[in-house]
Amino acid sequence: MDILNKIRKAGLVGRGGAGFPTADKWEAVKKAKGANKYVVCNASEGEPGVAKDSYILENFSKEVVDGMKKAIDFLGAEKAYIYINHNYYKKFNKNLAKIIGKALIEFFIKPIDSGYIGGEESSILNAIEGRRVEPRLRPPFPTTSGLWGCPTLINNVETFYNVSLVMSNRCKKERFYTISGDCLWTGVFSFPQSWTIEKILKETKNYPKFPFFIQVGGEGSGEVLDSSQLRRPASGAGSITVYSVLKHKPENLIKGWLDFFLNESCGKCTPCREGVYRLREIMDLPNSDWRLFVDLLNNLEEISFCGLGCVVPIPIKSYVNNVLAKMPGNKINFKGLDKKIIGECFKQ
């Protein structure tokens, strides 16, 4: 069975967070016409609360490099890059270089000030080409027009690792989970991908006895769920962050998310550059205009340039809807926000 069918049969999906079917991506690059083809392994891991790529590079470098080699061979690629954040490079480059040997794989260190957007796939292309690190318009997609206009395969570290497992018939349909936050046994674990969040927390003895909620898929862009919503698998980049209700005040949480996005916005488009700035500004005003707040969030979801802008509302809206809205009583004691406003503005 050829590599594409094997990957397809194994049901591999991208492990960077978006979950795009791996075989489809590989096939698109294979079919695309171009003078050269390139392979990029995304080891930038810029999402806070996610550390699985680091764990994989530390423990399974051979598999990752093997997966990349498989891609190079399959595509006839001219060259491959490991696009890696500075810290990981310092930690892993010697070991990786040994494994790479004479293979056509080079390191490209993620520009230090490129931040969160520096891990978005079209921004990676700009970074490697020496341009300003910002997302590109799509179409064209990297699969047909990536590095220097050539078809380019960009996969996450875990995806290449999985390809290697599939090709050596070791794939167990597991994935890596990063567990962090208000719990004892934090770290990276591998479990079947079908497991629910609840099961994972219980299995790792991390299921809290106190009132809590979690954020799944990253502490920046992940969705917030309360303890009644955990009978579902962990989505996105596969991380679970546990928050104690008592410990985390709504104001600090929302400001924290907004500070993160304000700091990470590249500045290209109006909804994100200006919108996030104004969202943050609203949080500092004595009377927060929640309607405007939600309009700004919706605008980000609706029409911002890239995936980063689109995810800004996810943690905030899900936190309000899944946690604050379920608080006992009507008053939330938070900047004039009450259940009536939540019902009218946040619920959709």
């Binding site: 500045g267 309009d295 979801e301």
Partner: protein, 576 residues
């Protein structure tokens, strides 16, 4: 290509499938707002105000980037569209500190227009850029950070279009700012393409209209206005600004008489036409060309009437200084003639004359301050207004331009040939010089058959580098016309291929200059150029050497002591 059917706001439209929604809407007279899109540049999708809703699509789309598809149904004004679009406009307004009272834009400001059209709350968010800097480039162009809306058109103009790369984006997110680069090997050439591509007047000319208003009020001065060849075919746009270029509008209307009348209304004592100066330039340049050929001087000879190009040579390629013609540029020529020949004829003291040039150009402001241009201790040109500043002065003084009765420029410096008229378009200087050089070369060999050509269509238009062979003085001259400084490098790399080169820094030549009305697009450039050639065809005299006024002035200058060279020629120096 097979056409497809789409619907915009329920209107059935047949269009080709390779266009964006924005292009199709534009062609069909459907208004969709936009700030960062400019047809000169690739789509950026930064401002996010050209939002539309497409049937069956989960999210809103951008009309600047979305390609049409057969059966697509699009709405440009649904509640969802309005909400997103208006919010984005409000967010953009908070980046732009309104300086309306002194902004030459305020009469047809794109932002204010949107605010009115969509009932935008301008002050919904507090201004956030009050501490931003204003960057000034010589006395020509400025970028006012307090007004910048981060559309990045200026960056595209400076890099993609002009390949100067003087502007860069510093910082990221809300802190990003357009700034001049620190690299000392890169400098602004003052072309003003950043200004003519800025949708909100953050990049603009350094205005001189205030100073001009002051001298106009000074009764002791004789204030003379002279206007460039390309002003007359673009000024109309300022007074009938259509919602979008596809809606027709006043593109390419020839308004010479109205320009004169408007200047008179503003209180200028005399009005002269720089087309006269262009004829002087042609004479001087054609003679120099013949001399260089005869005396085996430095070749190729390169035109020097574009001050942005001259700055480019002085800064980036000083080794080309000997190639530049020593002929001054048309408005400096005519101003020199005004302050000498005309002053003498009319018995006015040269120092009492103030010359104001109305130019399509921002670099002319810089050129006018060059010390080496002084004639008997006086700067030939005292102030330079752009086309936009001129329009603003008319509007500010409530002069109804469209109702002005056509008036004639003053003599003897009001006469001009068709050759002078076409100076405003890329290739025009070359064509004029060739018409006259061929004639002058023949004049000395009366026995031979003299071949002259009137029109050189192969060097007209918007091509990047246009080439032809022209016979002058028994020699086949290899000539090139560089349209836009962004196209210069390959020509500099192959200088040996040519005998005579024209360079205009702005795409399309002066009709596309940095001081011209906004928007300036290829569609509009073509119409302005076409008007110039129409004007040329309409003239009885189409060659500079047939302009009697010019010949008389040149004879007079020759007779004066040490004046001829001062008025007609100049020199250049290396800059760094």
């Amino acid at each position: 290509m097979k056409k497809i059917k789409i619907k915009i706001n329920n209107k059935k439209i047949i269009c080709s499938p390779d266009k964006t929604i924005g292009q199709v809407a534009h062609e069909n007279g459907i208004f969709i707002p936009g700030l960062c899109y400019h047809p000169d540049f690739p789509v950026k999708g930064n401002c996010r105000i050209c939002v539309v809703e497409i049937k069956g699509e989960k999210k809103l789309s951008l009309s600047c980037e979305k390609i049409v598809r057969d059966g697509m149904e699009i709405w440009t004004d649904t509640e969802r569209v309005k909400k997103s679009r208006n919010l984005n406009i409000e967010l953009i307004f908070a980046e732009h500190i309104e300086k309306c009272p002194t902004c030459i834009w305020n009469v047809h400001c794109g932002l204010l227009g949107l605010a009115e059209r969509y009932k935008i709350e301008i002050k919904r968010f507090p201004d956030r850029k009050s501490r931003r800097k204003i960057y000034r480039f010589a006395n020509a162009v400025e970028i006012d950070g307090t007004q910048c809306i981060d559309c990045r058109n200026c960056l595209d103009a400076c890099s993609l279009l002009q390949n100067i790369n003087y502007l860069e984006l510093k910082g990221k997110g809300v802190d990003q700012e357009v700034v001049p680069v620190k690299n000392k090997k890169i400098d602004c050439i003052y072309c003003g393409q950043c200004a003519v591509h800025c949708p909100v007047g953050a990049a603009q000319e350094q205005s001189q209209w205030e100073m001009v208003e002051k001298v106009l009020a000074d009764k002791k001065k004789i204030v003379v206005a002279q206007f460039a060849p390309s002003i007359r075919v673009s000024i109309g746009e300022e007074f009938n600004l259509p919602a979008s270029p596809s809606l027709g509008g006043p593109y390419g209307k020839i308004l010479t008489g109205q320009v004169v009348a408007g200047l008179k209304e503003l209180g200028f004592n005399y009005i002269f036409d720089v087309n006269f100066g262009a004829d002087v330039t042609t004479m001087v340049e054609a003679q120099e060309l013949l001399e260089r050929i005869k005396n085996k001087g430095v070749m190729p000879m390169i035109t020097s009437c574009c001050p942005a190009w001259v700055k480019y040579v002085e800064f980036y390629h000083p080794e080309l200084i000997p190639n530049l013609t020593t002929a001054r540029s048309p408005h400096i020529h005519s101003a020199g003639v005004i302050k000498t020949y005309w002053a003498n004829q009319t018995n006015i003291k040269p120092k009492d004359i103030i010359v104001v040039s109305v130019m399509p150009c921002t670099a002319k402001k810089f050129e006018a301050t060059r010390k080496e241009l002084k004639v008997r201790g006086l700067y030939p040109v005292d102030y330079v207004l752009t086309t936009r500043e001129f329009a603003w002065l008319l509007k500010k003084n409530n002069i109804s331009f469209s109702n002005l009765k056509s008036s004639k420029a003053d003599n003897p410096l009001g006469e001009y040939s068709g050759a002078g008229a076409i100076y405003g378009g890329s290739g025009g200087v070359m064509e004029s010089a060739l018409r006259t050089a061929q004639f002058l070369a023949c004049g000395k060999n009366k026995g031979k058959i003299c071949k002259t050509r009137l029109e050189f269509k192969e060097i007209r238009g918007l091509g990047g580098v246009k080439e032809t062979i022209a016979s002058v003085a028994d020699k086949k001259l290899r000539v090139a016309v560089v349209n836009g400084i962004g196209n210069i490098e390959p020509v500099i790399d192959n200088l040996g291929k040519y005998d005579y080169i024209e360079v205009m820094a702005c795409p399309g030549g002066c009709i596309g200059g940095g001081g011209q009305p906004i928007p300036t697009t290829d569609e509009i450039r073509k119409k302005r150029i076409a008007a110039l050639y129409k004007l040329d065809k309409s003239k009885k005299i189409r060659k500079a050497h047939e302009n009697k006024g010019v010949l008389e002035a040149l004879v007079w200058l020759k007779e004066q002591d040490k004046l001829e060279y001062q008025v007609l020629h100049t020199g250049y120096k290396k800059r760094n």
